[in-house]
């Protein structure tokens, strides 16, 4: 843990009088829980007594003082789920994982929580794993869900999946095609763009399959780096003004042949994207 990180988080919320909860949220987002040292640092930087911070951290259900597993599994125990057998689902999860609600498996794979209501009552009983909703869950499906989570639910789609399809894109400034017919990725012509970060400058090739993320690049780009995108033809900067809804970095728009705009996040590793077919131009 770096003192600077905590200081940065506290600094960001310093004008906000009620910022303690936001600070703790940011800390938890970074470490997946609230480490004791971090709370001490928060106390130091905000000037609020540690007991206050501990009070807030333990009052709200969302905060955890213990490290969490790789996957967060929440079983909804709202009333609607309850009357549709949610307790037996929760029990089955506890049995399969060998831990009780609020605990993390010894191998640190899963943290199992129960929540009061996720507001998807019509689909109950509901289980959410790493942000993915499973509806009308039955006890016999629990094993399957855990298996899927272990394999990774955020894995991109396979290239032969029916939900994946090719896009033909061009520069929004000069309208020159960005497709590279000489280099194929996923069996389709790739998209070639120029990128820069720091002092580095080079090409980046993306899969043109919407829903796939493979890319190759000239230089090694560290994860989380925000890149500047340029058209290889007119050299105009492509980074736009609208922020990514996942991470807040600038989105990069490209025109889609057939209509609309596709935008991808400029942050390496972020999966934020929008494909907008209507693309109203005002």
């Amino acid at each position: 843990m770096k003192t600077d990180d905590i200081a940065g988080i506290v600094e960001k919320h310093k004008d906000d009088r009620g910022g303690l909860i936001s600070i703790l949220e940011a800390v938890q987002a970074k470490y997946s829980y609230l480490p004791e040292n971090a709370l001490k640092l928060v106390s130091e930087k905000t000037g609020r007594p540690l007991v206050d911070i501990y009070g807030v951290a333990t009052f709200y259900r969302h905060f955890s003082l213990k490290p969490r597993g790789k996957h967060l599994l929440s079983c909804c125990l709202g009333t609607a789920c309850h009357v549709r057998n949610a307790p037996s689902i929760s029990k089955e999860i506890a049995k399969q994982l060998g831990v009780q609600p609020g605990e993390t498996t010894p191998d640190k794979e899963f943290t199992f929580e129960t929540v009061n209501c996720l507001g998807a009552c019509a689909l109950g009983p509901i289980v959410v794993v790493d942000g993915h909703y499973f509806s009308n869950v039955r006890a016999t499906k629990v094993k399957e869900i855990l298996e899927a989570a272990r394999l990774g639910l955020d894995k991109g789609l396979a290239k032969d999946d029916s939900r994946v399809f090719p896009l033909d894109v061009s520069c929004p400034r000069c309208n020159h095609s960005l497709m590279d017919e000489t280099h194929y990725i996923d069996g389709y012509p790739s998209i070639r763009i120029t990128v820069s970060f720091g002092a580095m400058h080079g090409w980046l090739r993306l899969s043109s399959l919407y829903g796939r993320s493979p890319a190759t690049h000239e230089h090694l780009i560290p994860k989380d780096t925000i890149l500047n995108f340029f058209c290889p033809h007119c050299h105009a900067e492509l980074n736009g003004v609208s922020p990514c809804s996942e991470c807040g970095a600038a989105m990069v728009p490209m025109m889609v042949r057939g209509g609309g705009i596709v935008q991808i996040c400029s942050r390496r590793g972020c999966k934020g994207h929008v494909l907008d077919l209507t693309g109203v131009n005002i």
């Binding site: 709200y60 259900r61 009333t79 609607a80 009357v83 809804s245 057939g258 005002i282």
Partner: protein
């Protein structure tokens, strides 16, 4: 997106948007709120985009991704504008076809919603019953806008009310409009919004004032706020802007639950877009009006929905409520004046200014204007968000909009208001819902959760659920709330696990009152409601749990034990003999069956197997274990003589003779168990052979006579005498029996008189009551059916009569006429299937009007066709005649069986009271009749019922008569039958369980079936039985497994 600097710039933008919008191309709208996305909406969006792009349709079809459309049950759903075509539960392949159909302006006939009654497709959204009776002032806006596009909101006249106000609205006018609208806070308590705003407006605002949108929708089961935030965030922003203008507030806060990630995402985008466009921030649209909104995320504390706790949470502190006054409008966030309104309240503001306060006030009822959104969830067919005018009845919401029960179980109650609310029984469903009526019946509006509960929902479990919730969520400041909710939970836990006495009910009620009276905030004040309302309306369930140790909903595990055992009227340990079969221990299996049941071979053939309907396998979506077929296997395999019943004679029992009237299952069971206690029993039978309905009612193709006779013989031991051809009322009287020295009499003569249809022509030759028809054949071998045979009725005896008729030589065809549908037929489904297989016709939704004759002989029946109408008390839809649908069905023989009654006109003269239904009046707990020493059980008290219930009554009668003769208290509390014998696990692995299907016993070939009375269903082979028995999930192990075994099992899983 450039900032708009004036109102006229906004208007110009609106005009430009409208030019684009006026292009009349069809729009595919995909519902993609959290529910939609959880059901696969994101995949539909991908497919739609793929199709539109690959087919070059981008200029011909619009695609709009919106929040939720409310019909959650049908997600993922797609709506097509401009025609309003609705496609429910759209699959990936369907989506390809939808795009294609839209491109051709066509409708897909196979995809639309199907009317559950007629099966006809309903194309338009507005014609679907779920939508038809709603008034969707707020929710319909979700369909119009893509929540992440502010232009979408603007082109649908969004922000117009605000512009109107900014342009020429007086601040006081804004306040008076809201007051005139009559809007009351949608968060639960119903405080008038206009009044609250006026109070805020009057406060000194030098240091700033706050407006808060309370989006901490913590009430489990309510999610309308989430839907509005996700689907139409700009309406909240606009509402708050109007509120700020009217009250002079300077800062806005949206306090939203962390559990709603999509709502937070859409709010962040909407706030940013509004700010970029100049609709939020300093000098909005160039005016001197400034206001901005920030998001504060709740961190998972239910109590933060309480306004004073919410304010503390916004201040970054522990969310504990504080005393009021001072009220938030005087001293709120950071000590500044603050007005807090719920999401739905804010969403109503643009609606009010759009339609005018006067018109808004006309919707709903007096003092309760406008609409209210309910989340209709739980055991209802169509779950979803429902928006109706205030004052709509629960009946309309649950049955008309919600489509009634989701399964076969009867709806018993709705719960409104979440943990602060209460349960309202179905007898009160004509209650018009508004703030005041709900409070009056002991519940509250709350945020609008409406959870439907059916017979499979235990009301104590619900009360316990809420107490568990509240004890966790109580902030702990008030002792009575903190400890009171814990203690109430403990008491409820004791009751539901069979550890409580009747005094616990009073203790619970007293505690609930104390908590209500001595706590500070809304959470504590209302925390007792779940307990008080269930005590008020469902006290009998509390008593059942405590006195009888029964949970009729099969929820409370500690007193249910193994569901199969609990469901059996005679408490047969089905799990135990099934486990023995799995281990190949057939003799032990037989012993288990025979211990509780003197008629194992009979029940193995004709029992209605309630055990199977409660089998856990069935409740988790698989087929229940074929328990009856397994019982049949054991009884066919093992010689009954291996079982020697235990005799427990008390002193002097042999000197107290007992008379049993009727030798059916009830009478013989009583005689058997009395005999085991040493009593001498005489069974009087009016017919020439014993057996009652088993002999004269049930045909031998279901129950072979040899097997039945053997079973009866085994029960007639040295203490039991059966005297046939002796009928009570004809040959003997009760007085005579007592005079002859009998110390007690058990009336078990069944229900042997057919009820009449009460229509013209019932006395014509060729018309027979089913009882007579079956007795003529079963007892005397007379084959009276000929030609075309009609059977009127839908119960087991109708199906029996039909199948017996079919096997008679002079019969050409057999038709069953029933007034409801196949689904409502009381007969066992397997019997109905067998009848249809054998070629019997089934005419449903038919009511007989008149029986026709030709030359004094039956010629046919005039009938009327029905459709299904409203639900009746039994939860079944009532048949409603269709005018002009009369027709005549021609028959040569007609068998009528619409229910039998006891044949006991004489009995009142013997000092035995009779009910209005014509059954013997009795105490259901003790079986005592109105005459001392005389007990009654079986069909003579219940009307036609199952064999196993008759056996249960016989067992109970034996116990009661024994208590009576020994001068003991008849009423004694029962003990729950919890599995107590450990048998090692026998189950399959999950994989095997998924692969192995429920066994279907083989049947005799059709060639032999219809021409003879050979037994139709065959016994299982040893392999089949072993495999089927291993499917059992062994619910008993939870109670019987030795402790060290359990630990080992769990430890093994982890490693």
């Amino acid at each position: 997106m450039g900032q708009l600097r004036s109102i006229s710039e906004f208007r110009a933008l609106y005009d430009r948007l409208n030019i684009v919008r006026n292009r009349k191309i069809p729009t595919i709208i995909i519902s993609a709120g959290t529910c939609g996305q959880a059901s696969g909406a994101n995949d539909l969006i991908r497919i739609a985009k793929r199709e539109i792009l690959s087919r070059g349709l981008a200029n011909k079809i619009n695609l709009r991704i919106t929040g939720c459309h409310g019909f959650c049950e049908m997600e993922p759903s797609v709506l097509i504008e401009p025609h309003g075509i609705f496609y429910p539960e759209v699959g990936l392949e369907d989506m390809v076809r939808v795009v294609d159909a839209v491109s051709r302006d066509a409708v897909l006939e196979d995809l639309p919603f199907k009317d559950p009654q007629t099966g006809q497709p309903v194309i338009k959204q507005s014609d679907i019953p779920f939508y038809k009776k709603q008034l969707r002032l707020i929710l319909s806006r979700n369909e119009k806008v893509d929540p992440i596009r502010i232009y979408n909101y603007i082109e649908n006249s969004g922000y117009q009310p605000l512009i109107g106000i900014l342009d020429n609205g007086e601040r006081d006018w804004v306040l008076s409009e809201v007051k005139e609208s009559g809007l009351r806070g949608r968060g639960g308590a119903g405080f008038p919004t206009g009044l609250k705003w006026e109070m805020l407006a009057k406060q000194n605002g030098n240091a700033g004032k706050y407006l808060v949108c309370n989006a901490d929708e913590g009430d489990p089961g309510a999610y309308m706020d989430r839907s509005v935030l996700e689907g139409n965030p700009h309406s909240i922003i606009e509402g708050m802007l109007i509120g700020a203008y009217g009250t002079g507030a300077t800062e806005g806060v949206i306090y939203v639950r962390n559990e709603y990630p999509l709502a937070i995402k859409h709010l962040i985008i909407a706030l940013r877009q509004a700010r970029e466009l100049g609709l939020l921030g300093e000098n909005i649209l160039g005016t001197d009006f400034s206001f901005d909104i920030k998001i504060v995320k709740g961190a998972g504390a239910f109590v933060c929905g309480e306004e004073t706790a919410l304010m503390r949470s916004v201040e970054g502190r522990v969310g504990e409520p504080r005393q009021r006054p001072p009220y938030p409008v005087e001293k709120g966030i950071n000590g500044r004046p603050t007005a807090i309104n719920n999401v739905e309240t804010w969403a109503n503001i643009p609606v009010i200014f759009d339609m005018g306060a006067e018109d808004f006030a006309k919707i709903g009822t007096k003092n309760n204007s406008g609409t209210k959104i309910f989340s209709l969830v739980g055991k209802v067919k169509y779950t979803g968000l429902v928006e109706v005018p205030m004052g709509t009845t629960i009946e309309t919401i649950v049955n008309d909009i919600g489509g009634g029960p989701s399964g076969n179980a009867r709806i018993k109650a709705v719960q409104t208001g979440g943990p602060s609310g209460g349960c309202i029984p179905s007898s009160m469903f004509n209650l018009p819902i508004d703030y005041d009526s709900l409070t009056k019946v002991g519940s509250i509006m709350g945020s609008g959760g409406m959870i439907v509960m059916d017979d499979n929902t235990c009301m104590l479990d619900i009360a316990k659920y809420y107490m568990n919730f509240l004890k966790d969520e109580s902030c702990g400041k008030c002792f009575t709330c903190r400890k009171g909710t814990q203690r109430m939970h403990e008491i409820l836990d004791d009751i539901t696990s069979g550890k409580a006495g009747m005094a616990h009910i009073d203790l619970l009620a007293e505690l609930a009152e104390v908590v209500k009276d001595t706590t500070m905030c809304g959470l504590g004040n209302t925390a007792s409601n779940p307990v008080l309302s269930t005590l008020k309306y469902f006290r009998n369930e509390y008593e059942r749990h405590i006195w009888d140790q029964r949970c009729d909903s099969f929820v409370c595990k500690e007193i249910v034990g193994a569901p199969c055992q609990s469901a059996c009227p005679i408490g047969t340990e089905a799990w135990r003999y099934v486990a023995h079969i799995a281990h190949g221990e057939y003799e032990q299996a037989y012993k288990v069956i025979r211990e509780t049941n003197p008629f194992p071979s009979v029940c193995a053939r004709v029992c209605d197997h309630k055990c199977e309907s409660r089998c856990k396998l069935g409740t988790i979506g698989m087929s229940p274990v074929a328990i009856r077929a397994l019982k049949r296997f054991v009884t066919d395999t093992i010689d009954p003589m291996t079982y020697k019943p235990e005799r427990m004679s008390s002193n002097g029992n042999g000197e107290r003779p007992i008379a049993v009237i009727g030798s059916g299952p009830s009478g013989l069971t009583a005689a058997h168990y009395l005999s085991l206690k040493g009593y001498k029993v005489t069974v009087f039978e009016s017919e020439s052979i014993p057996g009652g309905m088993l002999t004269c009612g049930i045909p031998s193709y279901r129950l072979p006579r040899g097997i039945l006779d053997k079973e009866i013989e085994s029960l007639v031991d040295e203490n039991v005498t059966v005297q046939c051809n002796t009928k009570l009322g004809r040959d003997i009287t009760i007085d005579e029996l007592f005079n002859q020295g009998y110390k007690s009499v058990f009336l078990a003569m069944g229900a042997h008189k057919s009820r009449k249809l009460n229509i013209e022509g019932e006395d014509i030759e060729g018309v027979y009551p089913a009882i007579q028809f079956l007795k003529d054949f079963n007892l005397r071998g007379e084959k009276i059916a000929k030609g075309r045979v009609g059977v009127i009725g839908g119960g087991d005896s109708a199906v029996d009569a039909a199948r017996v008729a079919l096997r008679q030589p002079a019969v050409e065809s057999v038709t069953i006429l029933y007034r409801r549908t196949r689904a409502e037929m009381p007969a066992l489904a397997t019997e109905v299937d067998a009848a249809i297989d054998e070629g019997i016709k089934l005419e449903t939704l038919v009511t007989p009007l008149k029986i026709r004759s030709r030359k004094g002989k039956l010629s046919g029946v005039d009938c009327l066709r029905n459709k299904l109408g409203e639900m009746d008390a039994s939860g079944r839809r009532n048949p409603v005649p269709i005018p002009g649908s009369e027709f005549t069905a021609e028959f040569d023989t007609l068998v009528v069986t619409i229910g039998d009654v006891p044949d006991i006109e004489f009995i009142e003269g013997m000092g035995i009271e009779v009910t209005e239904k014509g059954t013997v009046k009795y105490d259901s707990e003790t079986l005592a009749t109105s005459r001392a020493g005389v007990f009654a059980g079986g069909d003579v008290v219940t009307g036609p019922n199952t064999v196993v219930r008759a056996i249960a009554a016989g067992k109970k009668a034996a116990a009661m008569i024994d208590r009576f003769l020994h001068g003991q208290e008849l009423k004694q509390p029962s003990r729950a039958g919890i599995p107590g014998h450990y048998l090692p696990p026998s189950g399959l692995s999950d994989e095997e369980l998924n692969e192995i299907r429920r066994v279907v016993p083989s049947t005799v070939d059709m060639r032999y079936r219809t021409s003879s009375f050979v037994e139709v269903e065959q016994t299982l082979s040893q392999e089949e039985a072993a495999r089927e028995a291993r499917r059992c999930l062994r619910c008993d192990l939870e109670f019987t497994q030795p402790a060290e075994d359990k630990a080992e099992k769990i430890g093994g899983k982890v490693a």
